[in-house]
């Protein structure tokens, strides 16, 4: 670390430009917001606080990214300052929500995101100050931004709690879940850093990121409709909810031509993988070079797809195959497609960061052994939390429905998550699994966590319908 600072010293002076630019940007946006506040005369409401949170997190993410690319230590200082400011505003928003609703903000997916973003920012600061993992913000802050942006799309009105949710045990359960999932997210990020420090080949990351983006686009294109359309769920703007034609059956509308565009982008994101395979076969370095160029191109096309998706979804009404007439849709109706498109761009950008700045990154990150130990420690925190989370949930269910375990999908997947991490611990303790295999396990564990958190809620039916 010290070496890095010495070498980067000459760059420090020019490094201030980004800080100044971000500072001016934040100030400008805050000023614009302030004009709005003056007009409406309402300063401390939730949406203003969230807006401030978003601006500060945005500044922080930019500076963290700047640090990730240039390694200027100054950036981190200001990035943590911005994160602190954002966390403060975020705390205000949480507190406001809590006060307005009269219960801790865990009752809807909106409120859970609010709490999740808060936890993520807090953990970023802890990881930075305590474990000296400075680049972690490069990954976590963009995720926090996506969280805040998603929140803008979801219904925000305080809805009264149905009787089953009025329980202290529920709050205990959800708080533990948030803490456990955040710890799992941290172990995932650390596992990725471990793979970098463990000298995993940059080309392997290329293959992995390509497969991830290809899978994302294939999953999105399952919604491909005849004549090149893309079907998305319809949205009722007054109700701020999806339109249902029967119990549990959503109404879908078809956005024309968007399917063709996504198909084109799928082809574009497949190109790097094709060149990668060619490179493996022929060992011709030129193919690898082409693959990297193709990644760059695919990012441009992915961005184009995202822009078109947002524009088309936001404007106008579309025909449906299931009902007569035209219906509007909204970004909030397609959270998966949106996160998939954003996630694809994000992952590709991270790959480019690795490709261009690998030596700098390796210098800035703790050593592989150190990371391996920290991964184990975060899982040593996450696992008891997961256990207590499941126990608190079971206790709450027992008080509410008279049954502590009913094999509903969310419960089952929480148990599966628990088993995966239990597997990790057994392999590590009894088989002495260290390093790469342990890191793969941490990645798998987080993938299961994500499925439990999002996938089960949206894809599988069950009791946890409201969360």
């Amino acid at each position: 670390m010290a070496r890095a600072r010495v070498e980067q010293q000459p760059a420090a002076a020019t490094g201030m430009t980004l800080v100044v630019m971000v500072g001016l940007g934040v100030a400008f946006l805050l000023f614009m917001a302030f004009l709005n506040v003056v007009k409406s005369g309402n300063l401390l409401n939730e949406s203003n606080l969230l807006y401030a949170t978003l601006i500060f997190y945005f500044g922080a993410a930019t500076l963290y990214l700047g640090f990730g690319i240039t390694g200027t230590p100054n950036y981190v200082r200001f990035a943590s300052l911005a994160t602190w400011a954002g966390l403060l505003a975020n705390t205000g928003a949480v507190a406001h929500r809590w006060y307005e609703a009269g219960h801790p903000p865990f009752a809807s997916i909106y409120e859970m995101l609010l709490s999740f973003v808060w936890t993520l920012a807090a953990l970023t600061l802890i990881a930075e100050k305590k474990f000296k993992v400075k680049v972690i913000g490069t990954v976590t802050m963009p995720v926090a931004i996506v969280g805040v942006v998603l929140m803008q799309l979801l219904r925000t009105d305080v809805r009264p709690l149905v009787p089953a949710l009025q329980s202290t045990w529920l709050h205990v359960h959800v708080t533990l879940a948030m803490l456990a999932y955040a710890a799992c997210a941290l172990s995932f990020a650390l596992a990725m850093m471990f793979l970098i420090q463990d000298k995993m080949k940059t080309e392997t990351f290329l293959a992995a990121t390509s497969i991830f983006t290809i899978a994302t686009y294939i999953a999105t294109l399952t919604r491909f409709e005849k004549w090149g359309g893309l079907s998305v769920a319809a949205w009722n703007p007054e109700e701020k909810s999806e339109i249902f034609i029967a119990k549990g059956v959503r109404l879908f509308v078809v956005i024309p031509d968007l399917g063709w565009l996504l198909l084109l982008v799928l082809a574009a994101v497949s190109v790097p993988l094709v060149f990668y395979i060619l490179w493996r076969k022929t060992n011709n370095e030129a193919h690898l070079d082409l693959a990297n160029r193709a990644v760059f191109l695919s990012i441009l096309l992915q961005t184009l797809a995202l822009v078109f998706f947002i524009v088309r979804v936001r404007d106008g009404h579309y025909f449906s195959l299931d009902a007569d007439g035209q219906f509007p849709t909204s970004l909030a109706a397609s959270p998966f497609i949106l996160s998939g498109l954003v996630g694809g761009i994000f992952v590709s950008l991270l790959y480019l960061l690795l490709l261009w700045r690998r030596t700098d990154l390796e210098r800035m990150l703790p050593s592989a052994d150190e990371l391996d130990r920290i991964i184990y420690k975060t899982i040593a925190i996450a696992f008891p939390l997961l256990t207590l989370m499941i126990a608190a949930g079971a206790y709450w269910a027992n008080r509410t429905w008279g049954s502590y375990w009913s094999w509903d999908p969310k419960e089952t997947w929480a148990a599966i998550t628990w088993l995966v991490y239990a597997g990790y611990l057994h392999m590590r303790i009894t088989r002495g699994w260290r390093g790469r295999r342990a890191a793969y396990f941490a990645i798998l564990g987080f993938a299961v966590v994500m499925f439990t958190f999002f996938g089960v809620t949206y894809l599988l039916p069950g009791l946890h319908a409201y969360a």
């Binding site: 009787p163 089953a164 130990r373 429905w401 049954s403 509903d408 089952t412 599966i416 597997g423 039916p461």
Partner: protein
């Protein structure tokens, strides 16, 4: 010779590989159980819509539409438990030896092999050992002196319980499983619906038989509170437990607050309209005297209007429609109510059907000596109670607490040991050998170990306070 089969099975069960394979199978099947629609929870029609008949027959045949109650899933969980038991029993003796008889005086081979150790030059054994003893006591290692025939040394340790932690966690898991099995075998869930004033001692189980309780439960009242927007905020029921006709317990239950009596729990599950009338208030006016009189009737209750005439509430339909000369109920909501009153005369024995409102074709209202007008109606509400008997749940909760405790020990208590032995090096120089070992978090332990060594070195330095005192004395003399 080959190993006998039972022993082989026992060893296979205890192998970590078996455990991992069983866990992976459990994960896959449990995941399948969340992806395939499950029988008891899903509407049969919905399942039929989702799968084609052949596929459905196959899924049903394999038990995949009710994974969590299929015999093979239960078998799998039993195998997992058995594997945990076998693994624990096979490994326990070793661990127990380690726990019960700690290795206190290290021999030369051990001293050589131990990675974490340090040598300090000393003048005499006694001073060095007592210095080390002081430091170890201060650091919480509870040192003891180990006396052998021709040597003595020090041994100190912390958190020996950490060696047993894994067994605590595994035992807690088995306790949870045991509770679950007891509940699956002897527990039941049932539903009971009561209206105000009603009591019952039998409940209808979800999958078949009726359960007869050794006591009765009476509902003294139930209700619902709403938020301003009309969504329900709270459901409550006042329940009384009666044993041998005597009231033994009163409790108001709400959604997260059950009534517990005799191992049976009553949960507030739902609240709704029965479609039946609780109280109907009528104004009866005699056609002769034109004298109005208010009467209150429950269903099938009779009231006397004058010495000769009585009226009975024979039927109450909250939302009626007429078709083919019959009156039908359309819903249980109080939308369009109709009541059939039977007006009887003792003298003539004549009974007249009086419909309120008058329904053409079937009413005989004109024959009645009284006219009736509805004044007020109170509908009967039922409170839906989920009843459950889970004798094994205490095992589950005890297991959960034990597991929490066990996990804290597993992850956060480190068994660390330090040995201090006076030795002579090759040249016969007296040295203090200090060695340490920890069962996890080795990096943190190394830090602590070097702290201990530094402290001992500091204690062994020619004592500084004396030196400074003499120098001060020397200064003042001058």
């Amino acid at each position: 010779m080959a190993i006998p089969l039972p022993r082989k099975i026992w060893q296979t069960l205890g192998a970590i590989k078996t455990g991992v394979i069983l866990l992976i199978l459990t994960v896959i099947l449990a995941a399948a159980g969340t992806l395939i629609l499950q029988r008891p929870a899903t509407d049969p029609d919905e399942i039929q819509r989702a799968y084609s008949p052949q596929v459905l027959r196959l899924l049903d045949g394999l038990g995949l539409t009710d994974v969590f109650h299929a015999w093979w899933f239960v078998l799998l969980l039993s195998l997992v438990s058995l594997s945990i038991v076998a693994a624990s029993i096979q490994r326990f003796p070793n661990a127990w030896r380690f726990y019960a008889r700690p290795y206190k005086s290290p021999d030369e081979a051990f001293r050589k092999a131990l990675p974490t150790h340090k040598l300090i030059a000393i003048k005499d054994e006694e001073t060095a050992l007592s210095a080390a003893e002081r430091v170890l006591a201060k650091k919480g290692f509870h040192p003891e002196r180990i006396v052998r025939e021709n040597s003595f040394s020090l041994f100190g340790e912390r958190n020996r319980i950490s060696e047993m932690a894994v067994y605590i966690v595994h035992a807690s898991l088995l306790l949870i499983f045991l509770g679950g099995i007891i509940d699956a075998e002897f527990g039941w869930r049932a539903f009971l619906s009561l209206t105000r004033g009603e009591q019952s001692s039998e409940v209808q189980a979800q999958n078949g038989p009726k359960h007869f309780l050794p006591f009765a439960v009476r509902c003294d009242g139930a209700g619902q509170e709403n938020y301003a927007d009309g969504t329900p905020k709270k459901w409550w029921s006042n329940l009384t437990v009666l044993k041998g006709g005597r009231e033994v317990l009163h409790k108001q239950i709400v959604v997260n607050e059950p009534l517990v009596y005799g191992g049976v729990r009553f949960y507030q599950a739902s609240y709704g309209k029965t479609g039946k009338v609780d109280k109907l208030v009528l104004t009866a006016t005699s056609r002769q005297s034109m004298n109005p009189k208010d009467i209150t009737l429950g269903l099938n209750e009779t009231a006397a209007l004058d010495p000769d005439t009585t009226v009975r509430l024979a039927e109450f339909i909250p939302d009626y429609v007429v078709g083919d000369g019959q009156v039908y109920a359309r819903s249980n909501d109080l939308e369009n109510p109709a009541a059939r009153l039977v007006v009887e005369s003792k003298k003539s024995g004549q009974a007249i059907n009086y419909w309120l409102p008058a329904i053409p074709g079937i009413e005989q209202n004109a024959l009645s000596p009284y006219d009736f007008q509805g004044k007020d109606v109170q509908m009967a509400y039922f409170t839906g109670l989920e009843v459950s008997h889970e004798p094994g749940q205490w095992g589950v909760w005890a297991g959960v607490l034990l597991m929490g405790l066990g996990l804290v020990v597993v992850f956060y208590l480190v068994h660390s040991r330090i040995w201090v032995v006076p030795v002579r090096d090759a040249r016969g120089q007296l040295q203090l050998w200090i060695g340490g070992a920890a069962n996890k978090n080795k990096d943190v332990f190394e830090q602590r170990f070097s702290d201990v060594v530094k402290q001992i070195e500091w204690e062994l330095k020619p004592s500084q306070p004396e030196i400074s005192q003499t120098s001060v004395a020397a200064l003042t003399e001058k």
